[in-house]
Every structure is written in structure tokens, then in C-alpha cells.
């Protein structure tokens, strides 16, 4: 079984999808142990425009994490995805700190020989990231702030990966 090259970043800075894709591809150059991908799937999560009945329009999200545990949890999720599908490479970037409405929060990029594996693995990683990686969001509105509550629907989505 081929190895999946995994790369994880938890960072304050924004990211550029094209740069991340170039970096992922150049890390998978032939000559190394890995094969050249025939499919790359990218998921980008953004800060949604949102109105709160009490506090008004959303201005930004404050994202906090548990340094060390977060990176380890993301690495574990990617490793499980790599074992379940024929992944060649996988890149996860998650931002922390203050992120304004409309900005990028998270990138999950998966590379495989064929699209089916890349699509499934990307969705699997995102579903587990939502429920098992130690990040917390605080939503800051025009006139107040509150911690975002975990969604039951995110837990329910995991059931489709159970076999």
C-alpha cells in the first residue's frame, strides 16, 4: 500500500488555494515514493455572513485551539482517511485568531489517482475535523459576542462513515 503524504498547518495567516495546490503537487513529484495524482479535491470553508437577532451582523470569528492536540488530531484523521481510500497526498490548513466575515477559515485538499477517492476522503476529513479537532469559535457581532454551539447535525453526519 502506498504512503499518503500528510501536511497540517494551524496558522493565523490566510492561505491561497493555488499556492497550496502547487506545494502539494511539488511534494508528490515522481521520483519519490509516491505516484502522480490524477485528481485533487479542495474544500474551502468561509466565514458566513450572519445576522443575530440580539447582536446584529456578524463581524468576525475568534478561533481558539489546543496547540499540540489539534495538530495531532488532524494528523490522525488524515491518516485514517489515507488508510481507507487510495490517497497520495493530503493537506489541511486551519486558521486561528480573528477572521472577518467572508474570509477563508479552513482548507482540506486531497490528492489521489482517481476522483472518487479524493472526493470521499476530503469529505471524511472535513466531517471528522468538525467533530474531533480541538478548535472553538466565538462569533463577534456588532453589539455582542457568543461562543458558537456544537451542532447535532455534525455528529449525525459521522454515521455515514460507520460500516
Amino acid at each position: 500500500m502506498q504512503a499518503c503524504k500528510i501536511s497540517i498547518s494551524v496558522q493565523r495567516e490566510n492561505f491561497t488555494v493555488s499556492d497550496e495546490q502547487s506545494a502539494l503537487q511539488s511534494g508528490l513529484e515522481p521520483g519519490g515514493a509516491s505516484q502522480t495524482p490524477g485528481a485533487i479535491v479542495s474544500f474551502v470553508g468561509l466565514v458566513r455572513d450572519e445576522q443575530d437577532a440580539e447582536f446584529g451582523a456578524l463581524q468576525s470569528l475568534q478561533i481558539e485551539h489546543y496547540p499540540g492536540m489539534t495538530e495531532q488530531a488532524l494528523g490522525d484523521i488524515c491518516q485514517r482517511a489515507g488508510a481507507q481510500w487510495q490517497l497520495i497526498g493530503c493537506r489541511v490548513v486551519h486558521r486561528v485568531g480573528s477572521i472577518n466575515s467572508g474570509e477563508q477559515i479552513v482548507l482540506v485538499m486531497t490528492a489521489a489517482a482517481h476522483r472518487g477517492d479524493a472526493f470521499c476522503a476530503c469529505e471524511y476529513i472535513m466531517d471528522y475535523l468538525k467533530t474531533a479537532a480541538t478548535f472553538w469559535k466565538k462569533a463577534c457581532y456588532e453589539s455582542g459576542a457568543r461562543w458558537v454551539a456544537a451542532q447535532d447535525s455534525d455528529q449525525q453526519r459521522l454515521q455515514r462513515w460507520a460500516k
Partner: protein, 83 residues
């Protein structure tokens, strides 16, 4: 003999700090530690005893029945909301 205790997100705000060092009691479980930490607070530390609060021991999700050792890092936090 000491444990390092960390709190995150809403729990950090409710507990009034991100971390504290506490004595390690030989053979104490995570559940017993949470009770001890809560009862040492003027407000009774109800936030820490919420059933939704998760615990990690040395950066791995942990069951409340796990027993603690000297030097362990124990974290308490609400359900995660990343992505």
C-alpha cells in the same frame, strides 16, 4: 506532585483562566479531579461539571474514569466547533 490543568473556550472564561497547577492525588480519576476543582471555586464550578464538557489527558481525549499520574496535562473543554 503536580498536574497541569488547562481550560479552553467558554470554559476558560467561566473558570477565570487558561491554566492552573494543582496537586496530584495518587489514583485520582479525571471525574474526581473535576469535582475537586469545581468545589474549590466560590461559584461551585458548575460549568466544569456540565455533562457536555470533554476531557483530555496528555492531549488525548480521555474517559472520566481514567486515573491520573504525576506530571499529567489534563484539559477540560466544551464540544469542539472548528471548520
Amino acid at each position: 506532585m503536580a498536574l497541569s490543568v488547562l481550560y479552553f473556550a467558554s470554559l476558560r472564561e467561566q473558570m477565570g483562566g487558561a491554566s492552573q497547577r494543582v496537586d496530584c492525588i495518587e489514583g485520582e480519576s479525571i471525574a474526581a479531579l473535576a469535582k475537586r476543582l469545581a468545589s474549590s471555586r466560590p461559584d461551585g464550578g458548575a460549568a466544569l461539571l456540565e455533562p457536555s464538557v470533554r476531557a483530555a489527558r496528555n492531549q488525548q481525549l480521555a474517559d472520566r474514569t481514567e486515573l491520573l499520574c504525576d506530571g499529567d496535562e489534563v484539559a477540560f473543554f466544551p464540544p469542539v466547533t472548528g471548520g
